[in-house]
Symmetry: C2
């Protein structure tokens, strides 16, 4: 049995706690022994009183401590851990393994997903990126990852940094484009639902085509008339700037191919 302790009480912590609990019910080699939260109330809806600690000195022995706190707090939390030579992994996409204090064996356990409160996630389909300082620790982290997900990757700190930037483009930024689509629809009394099949198809296409092969629209066609009409239509400064910037980038990207 691999004993896991979770440090933190945010979205990632709560989704992991729920997932480990569900897996324990059906039997698994991973056991959630304890969770740390500065405020007990943050996790009280998920765990019994005795399984939550608010004091680092009360952390029980575990095979892995998963630090799920915000990026800025990882270093400080890892310094406050009152033990050494245990396996401690953070769950951040943007922080290197070396962000953790080196008195413990360091690792990374990064679920590549955008977690939203109140939106259930199925970890089975969430890629987990694992990194460690030695092969034995890698196997432990990999084993935990495989219990909750079908998609486990060994990704080093440099790759993870690149991956996190890529994730901002494909997730945060495309979501903002969807927000702009929604704004344009609302302003013109068009139901936003009308755009959803198109948004789904945009992603589904990439099961069979590369994004470059799938690129369509006035920018890649150099359809100057439509581009000019769209720019004239956009009276929101940010929307216009995004339209011009992305059109230019699509056209220059097309040239490189």
């Amino acid at each position: 049995m691999i004993k896991v302790s979770i440090i933190g009480s945010g979205n990632v912590a709560q989704h992991l706690i729920t997932t480990f609990q569900d897996l324990e019910k059906v039997g698994t080699e991973v056991e959630l022994v304890q969770a740390f939260s500065r405020k007990r109330e943050s996790l009280a809806h998920l765990l019994p009183f005795e399984q939550i600690t608010t004091d680092f000195n009360d952390l029980q022995e575990a095979d892995v401590y998963l630090i799920t706190v915000s990026d800025d707090a990882i270093a400080s939390v890892s310094e406050q851990l009152p033990f050494k030579n245990r396996l401690v992994a953070h769950t951040s996409g943007s922080m290197p393994l070396t962000m953790l204090k080196d008195n413990n064996r360091r690792g990374v356990f990064y679920p590549l997903q955008s977690f939203t409160k109140g939106k259930a996630v199925d970890f089975k389909n969430i890629p987990i990126c694992v990194e460690s300082e030695n092969g034995t620790d890698f196997k432990v982290l990999e084993k935990i990852a495989r219990v909750i997900s079908d998609k486990v990757y060994g990704i080093n700190s440099d790759q993870r940094k690149a991956l996190h930037v890529a994730a901002v483009f494909v997730n945060n930024f495309s979501n903002h484009l969807f927000a702009i689509g929604n704004d344009i629809c609302q302003k013109n009394q068009i139901p936003f639902d009308i755009l959803k099949p198109l948004m789904e198809e945009t992603v589904q296409k990439l099961q069979t085509l590369s994004p470059s092969e799938a690129q369509t629209g006035p920018a890649i066609r150099h359809d100057e008339k439509t581009l000019a009409a769209h720019e004239a239509f956009l009276d929101n400064e940010n929307q216009l700037k995004i339209y011009k910037t992305l059109t230019q980038s699509i056209q220059e990207h097309g040239k490189e191919l």
Copy 2:
């Protein structure tokens, strides 16, 4: 029986021809009578010789003529039609109904989807935006639309123009962000597949949340440290410009809420 004639041989024409043919096999109230193509070869893999014409003067009588040519050619094609007072509709998202010559009864039949050659589409899930000059013609176009799709909307020319701009944001532009994600992955020896569940989730979330509610990431969190690290990481000028432009827009959009 509603008789439909398709003018054009591009992606939209070919997808419509295939769909009407499939529906005729199972029995429907819509009949594809003829297709016009400048070059017969363009449609020879889909239709028998006698069902293709290359001469406007050979166009048979039909209840609706669907002009599926490129935006720039719509006006010229509608002027070359050697008949009057028949229902003629174009299939463009960006052109007003008035782009068609007014010697015929004008309409629009716009399937809101990005069609890629070699990628099959299921029209059932593709919204079709219908517009016409009178109620009788609207009913005819609506009836054809309902035969091939479950999602039919009455959308006027002003709304369709807005919708087309919105579609560029949610489809063309987000696809380009996916292309950038792919480029970053390739450059760092990371399989692009690792990002696909995140991309799917980005769209799926919008079944239950608005794009503003679903917005996550360093921009909306004002996580200056991560933003600076990402900007330092990006050595491609266009990628950096997009990163800064979208980050700024996300932050200003957040303020408006």
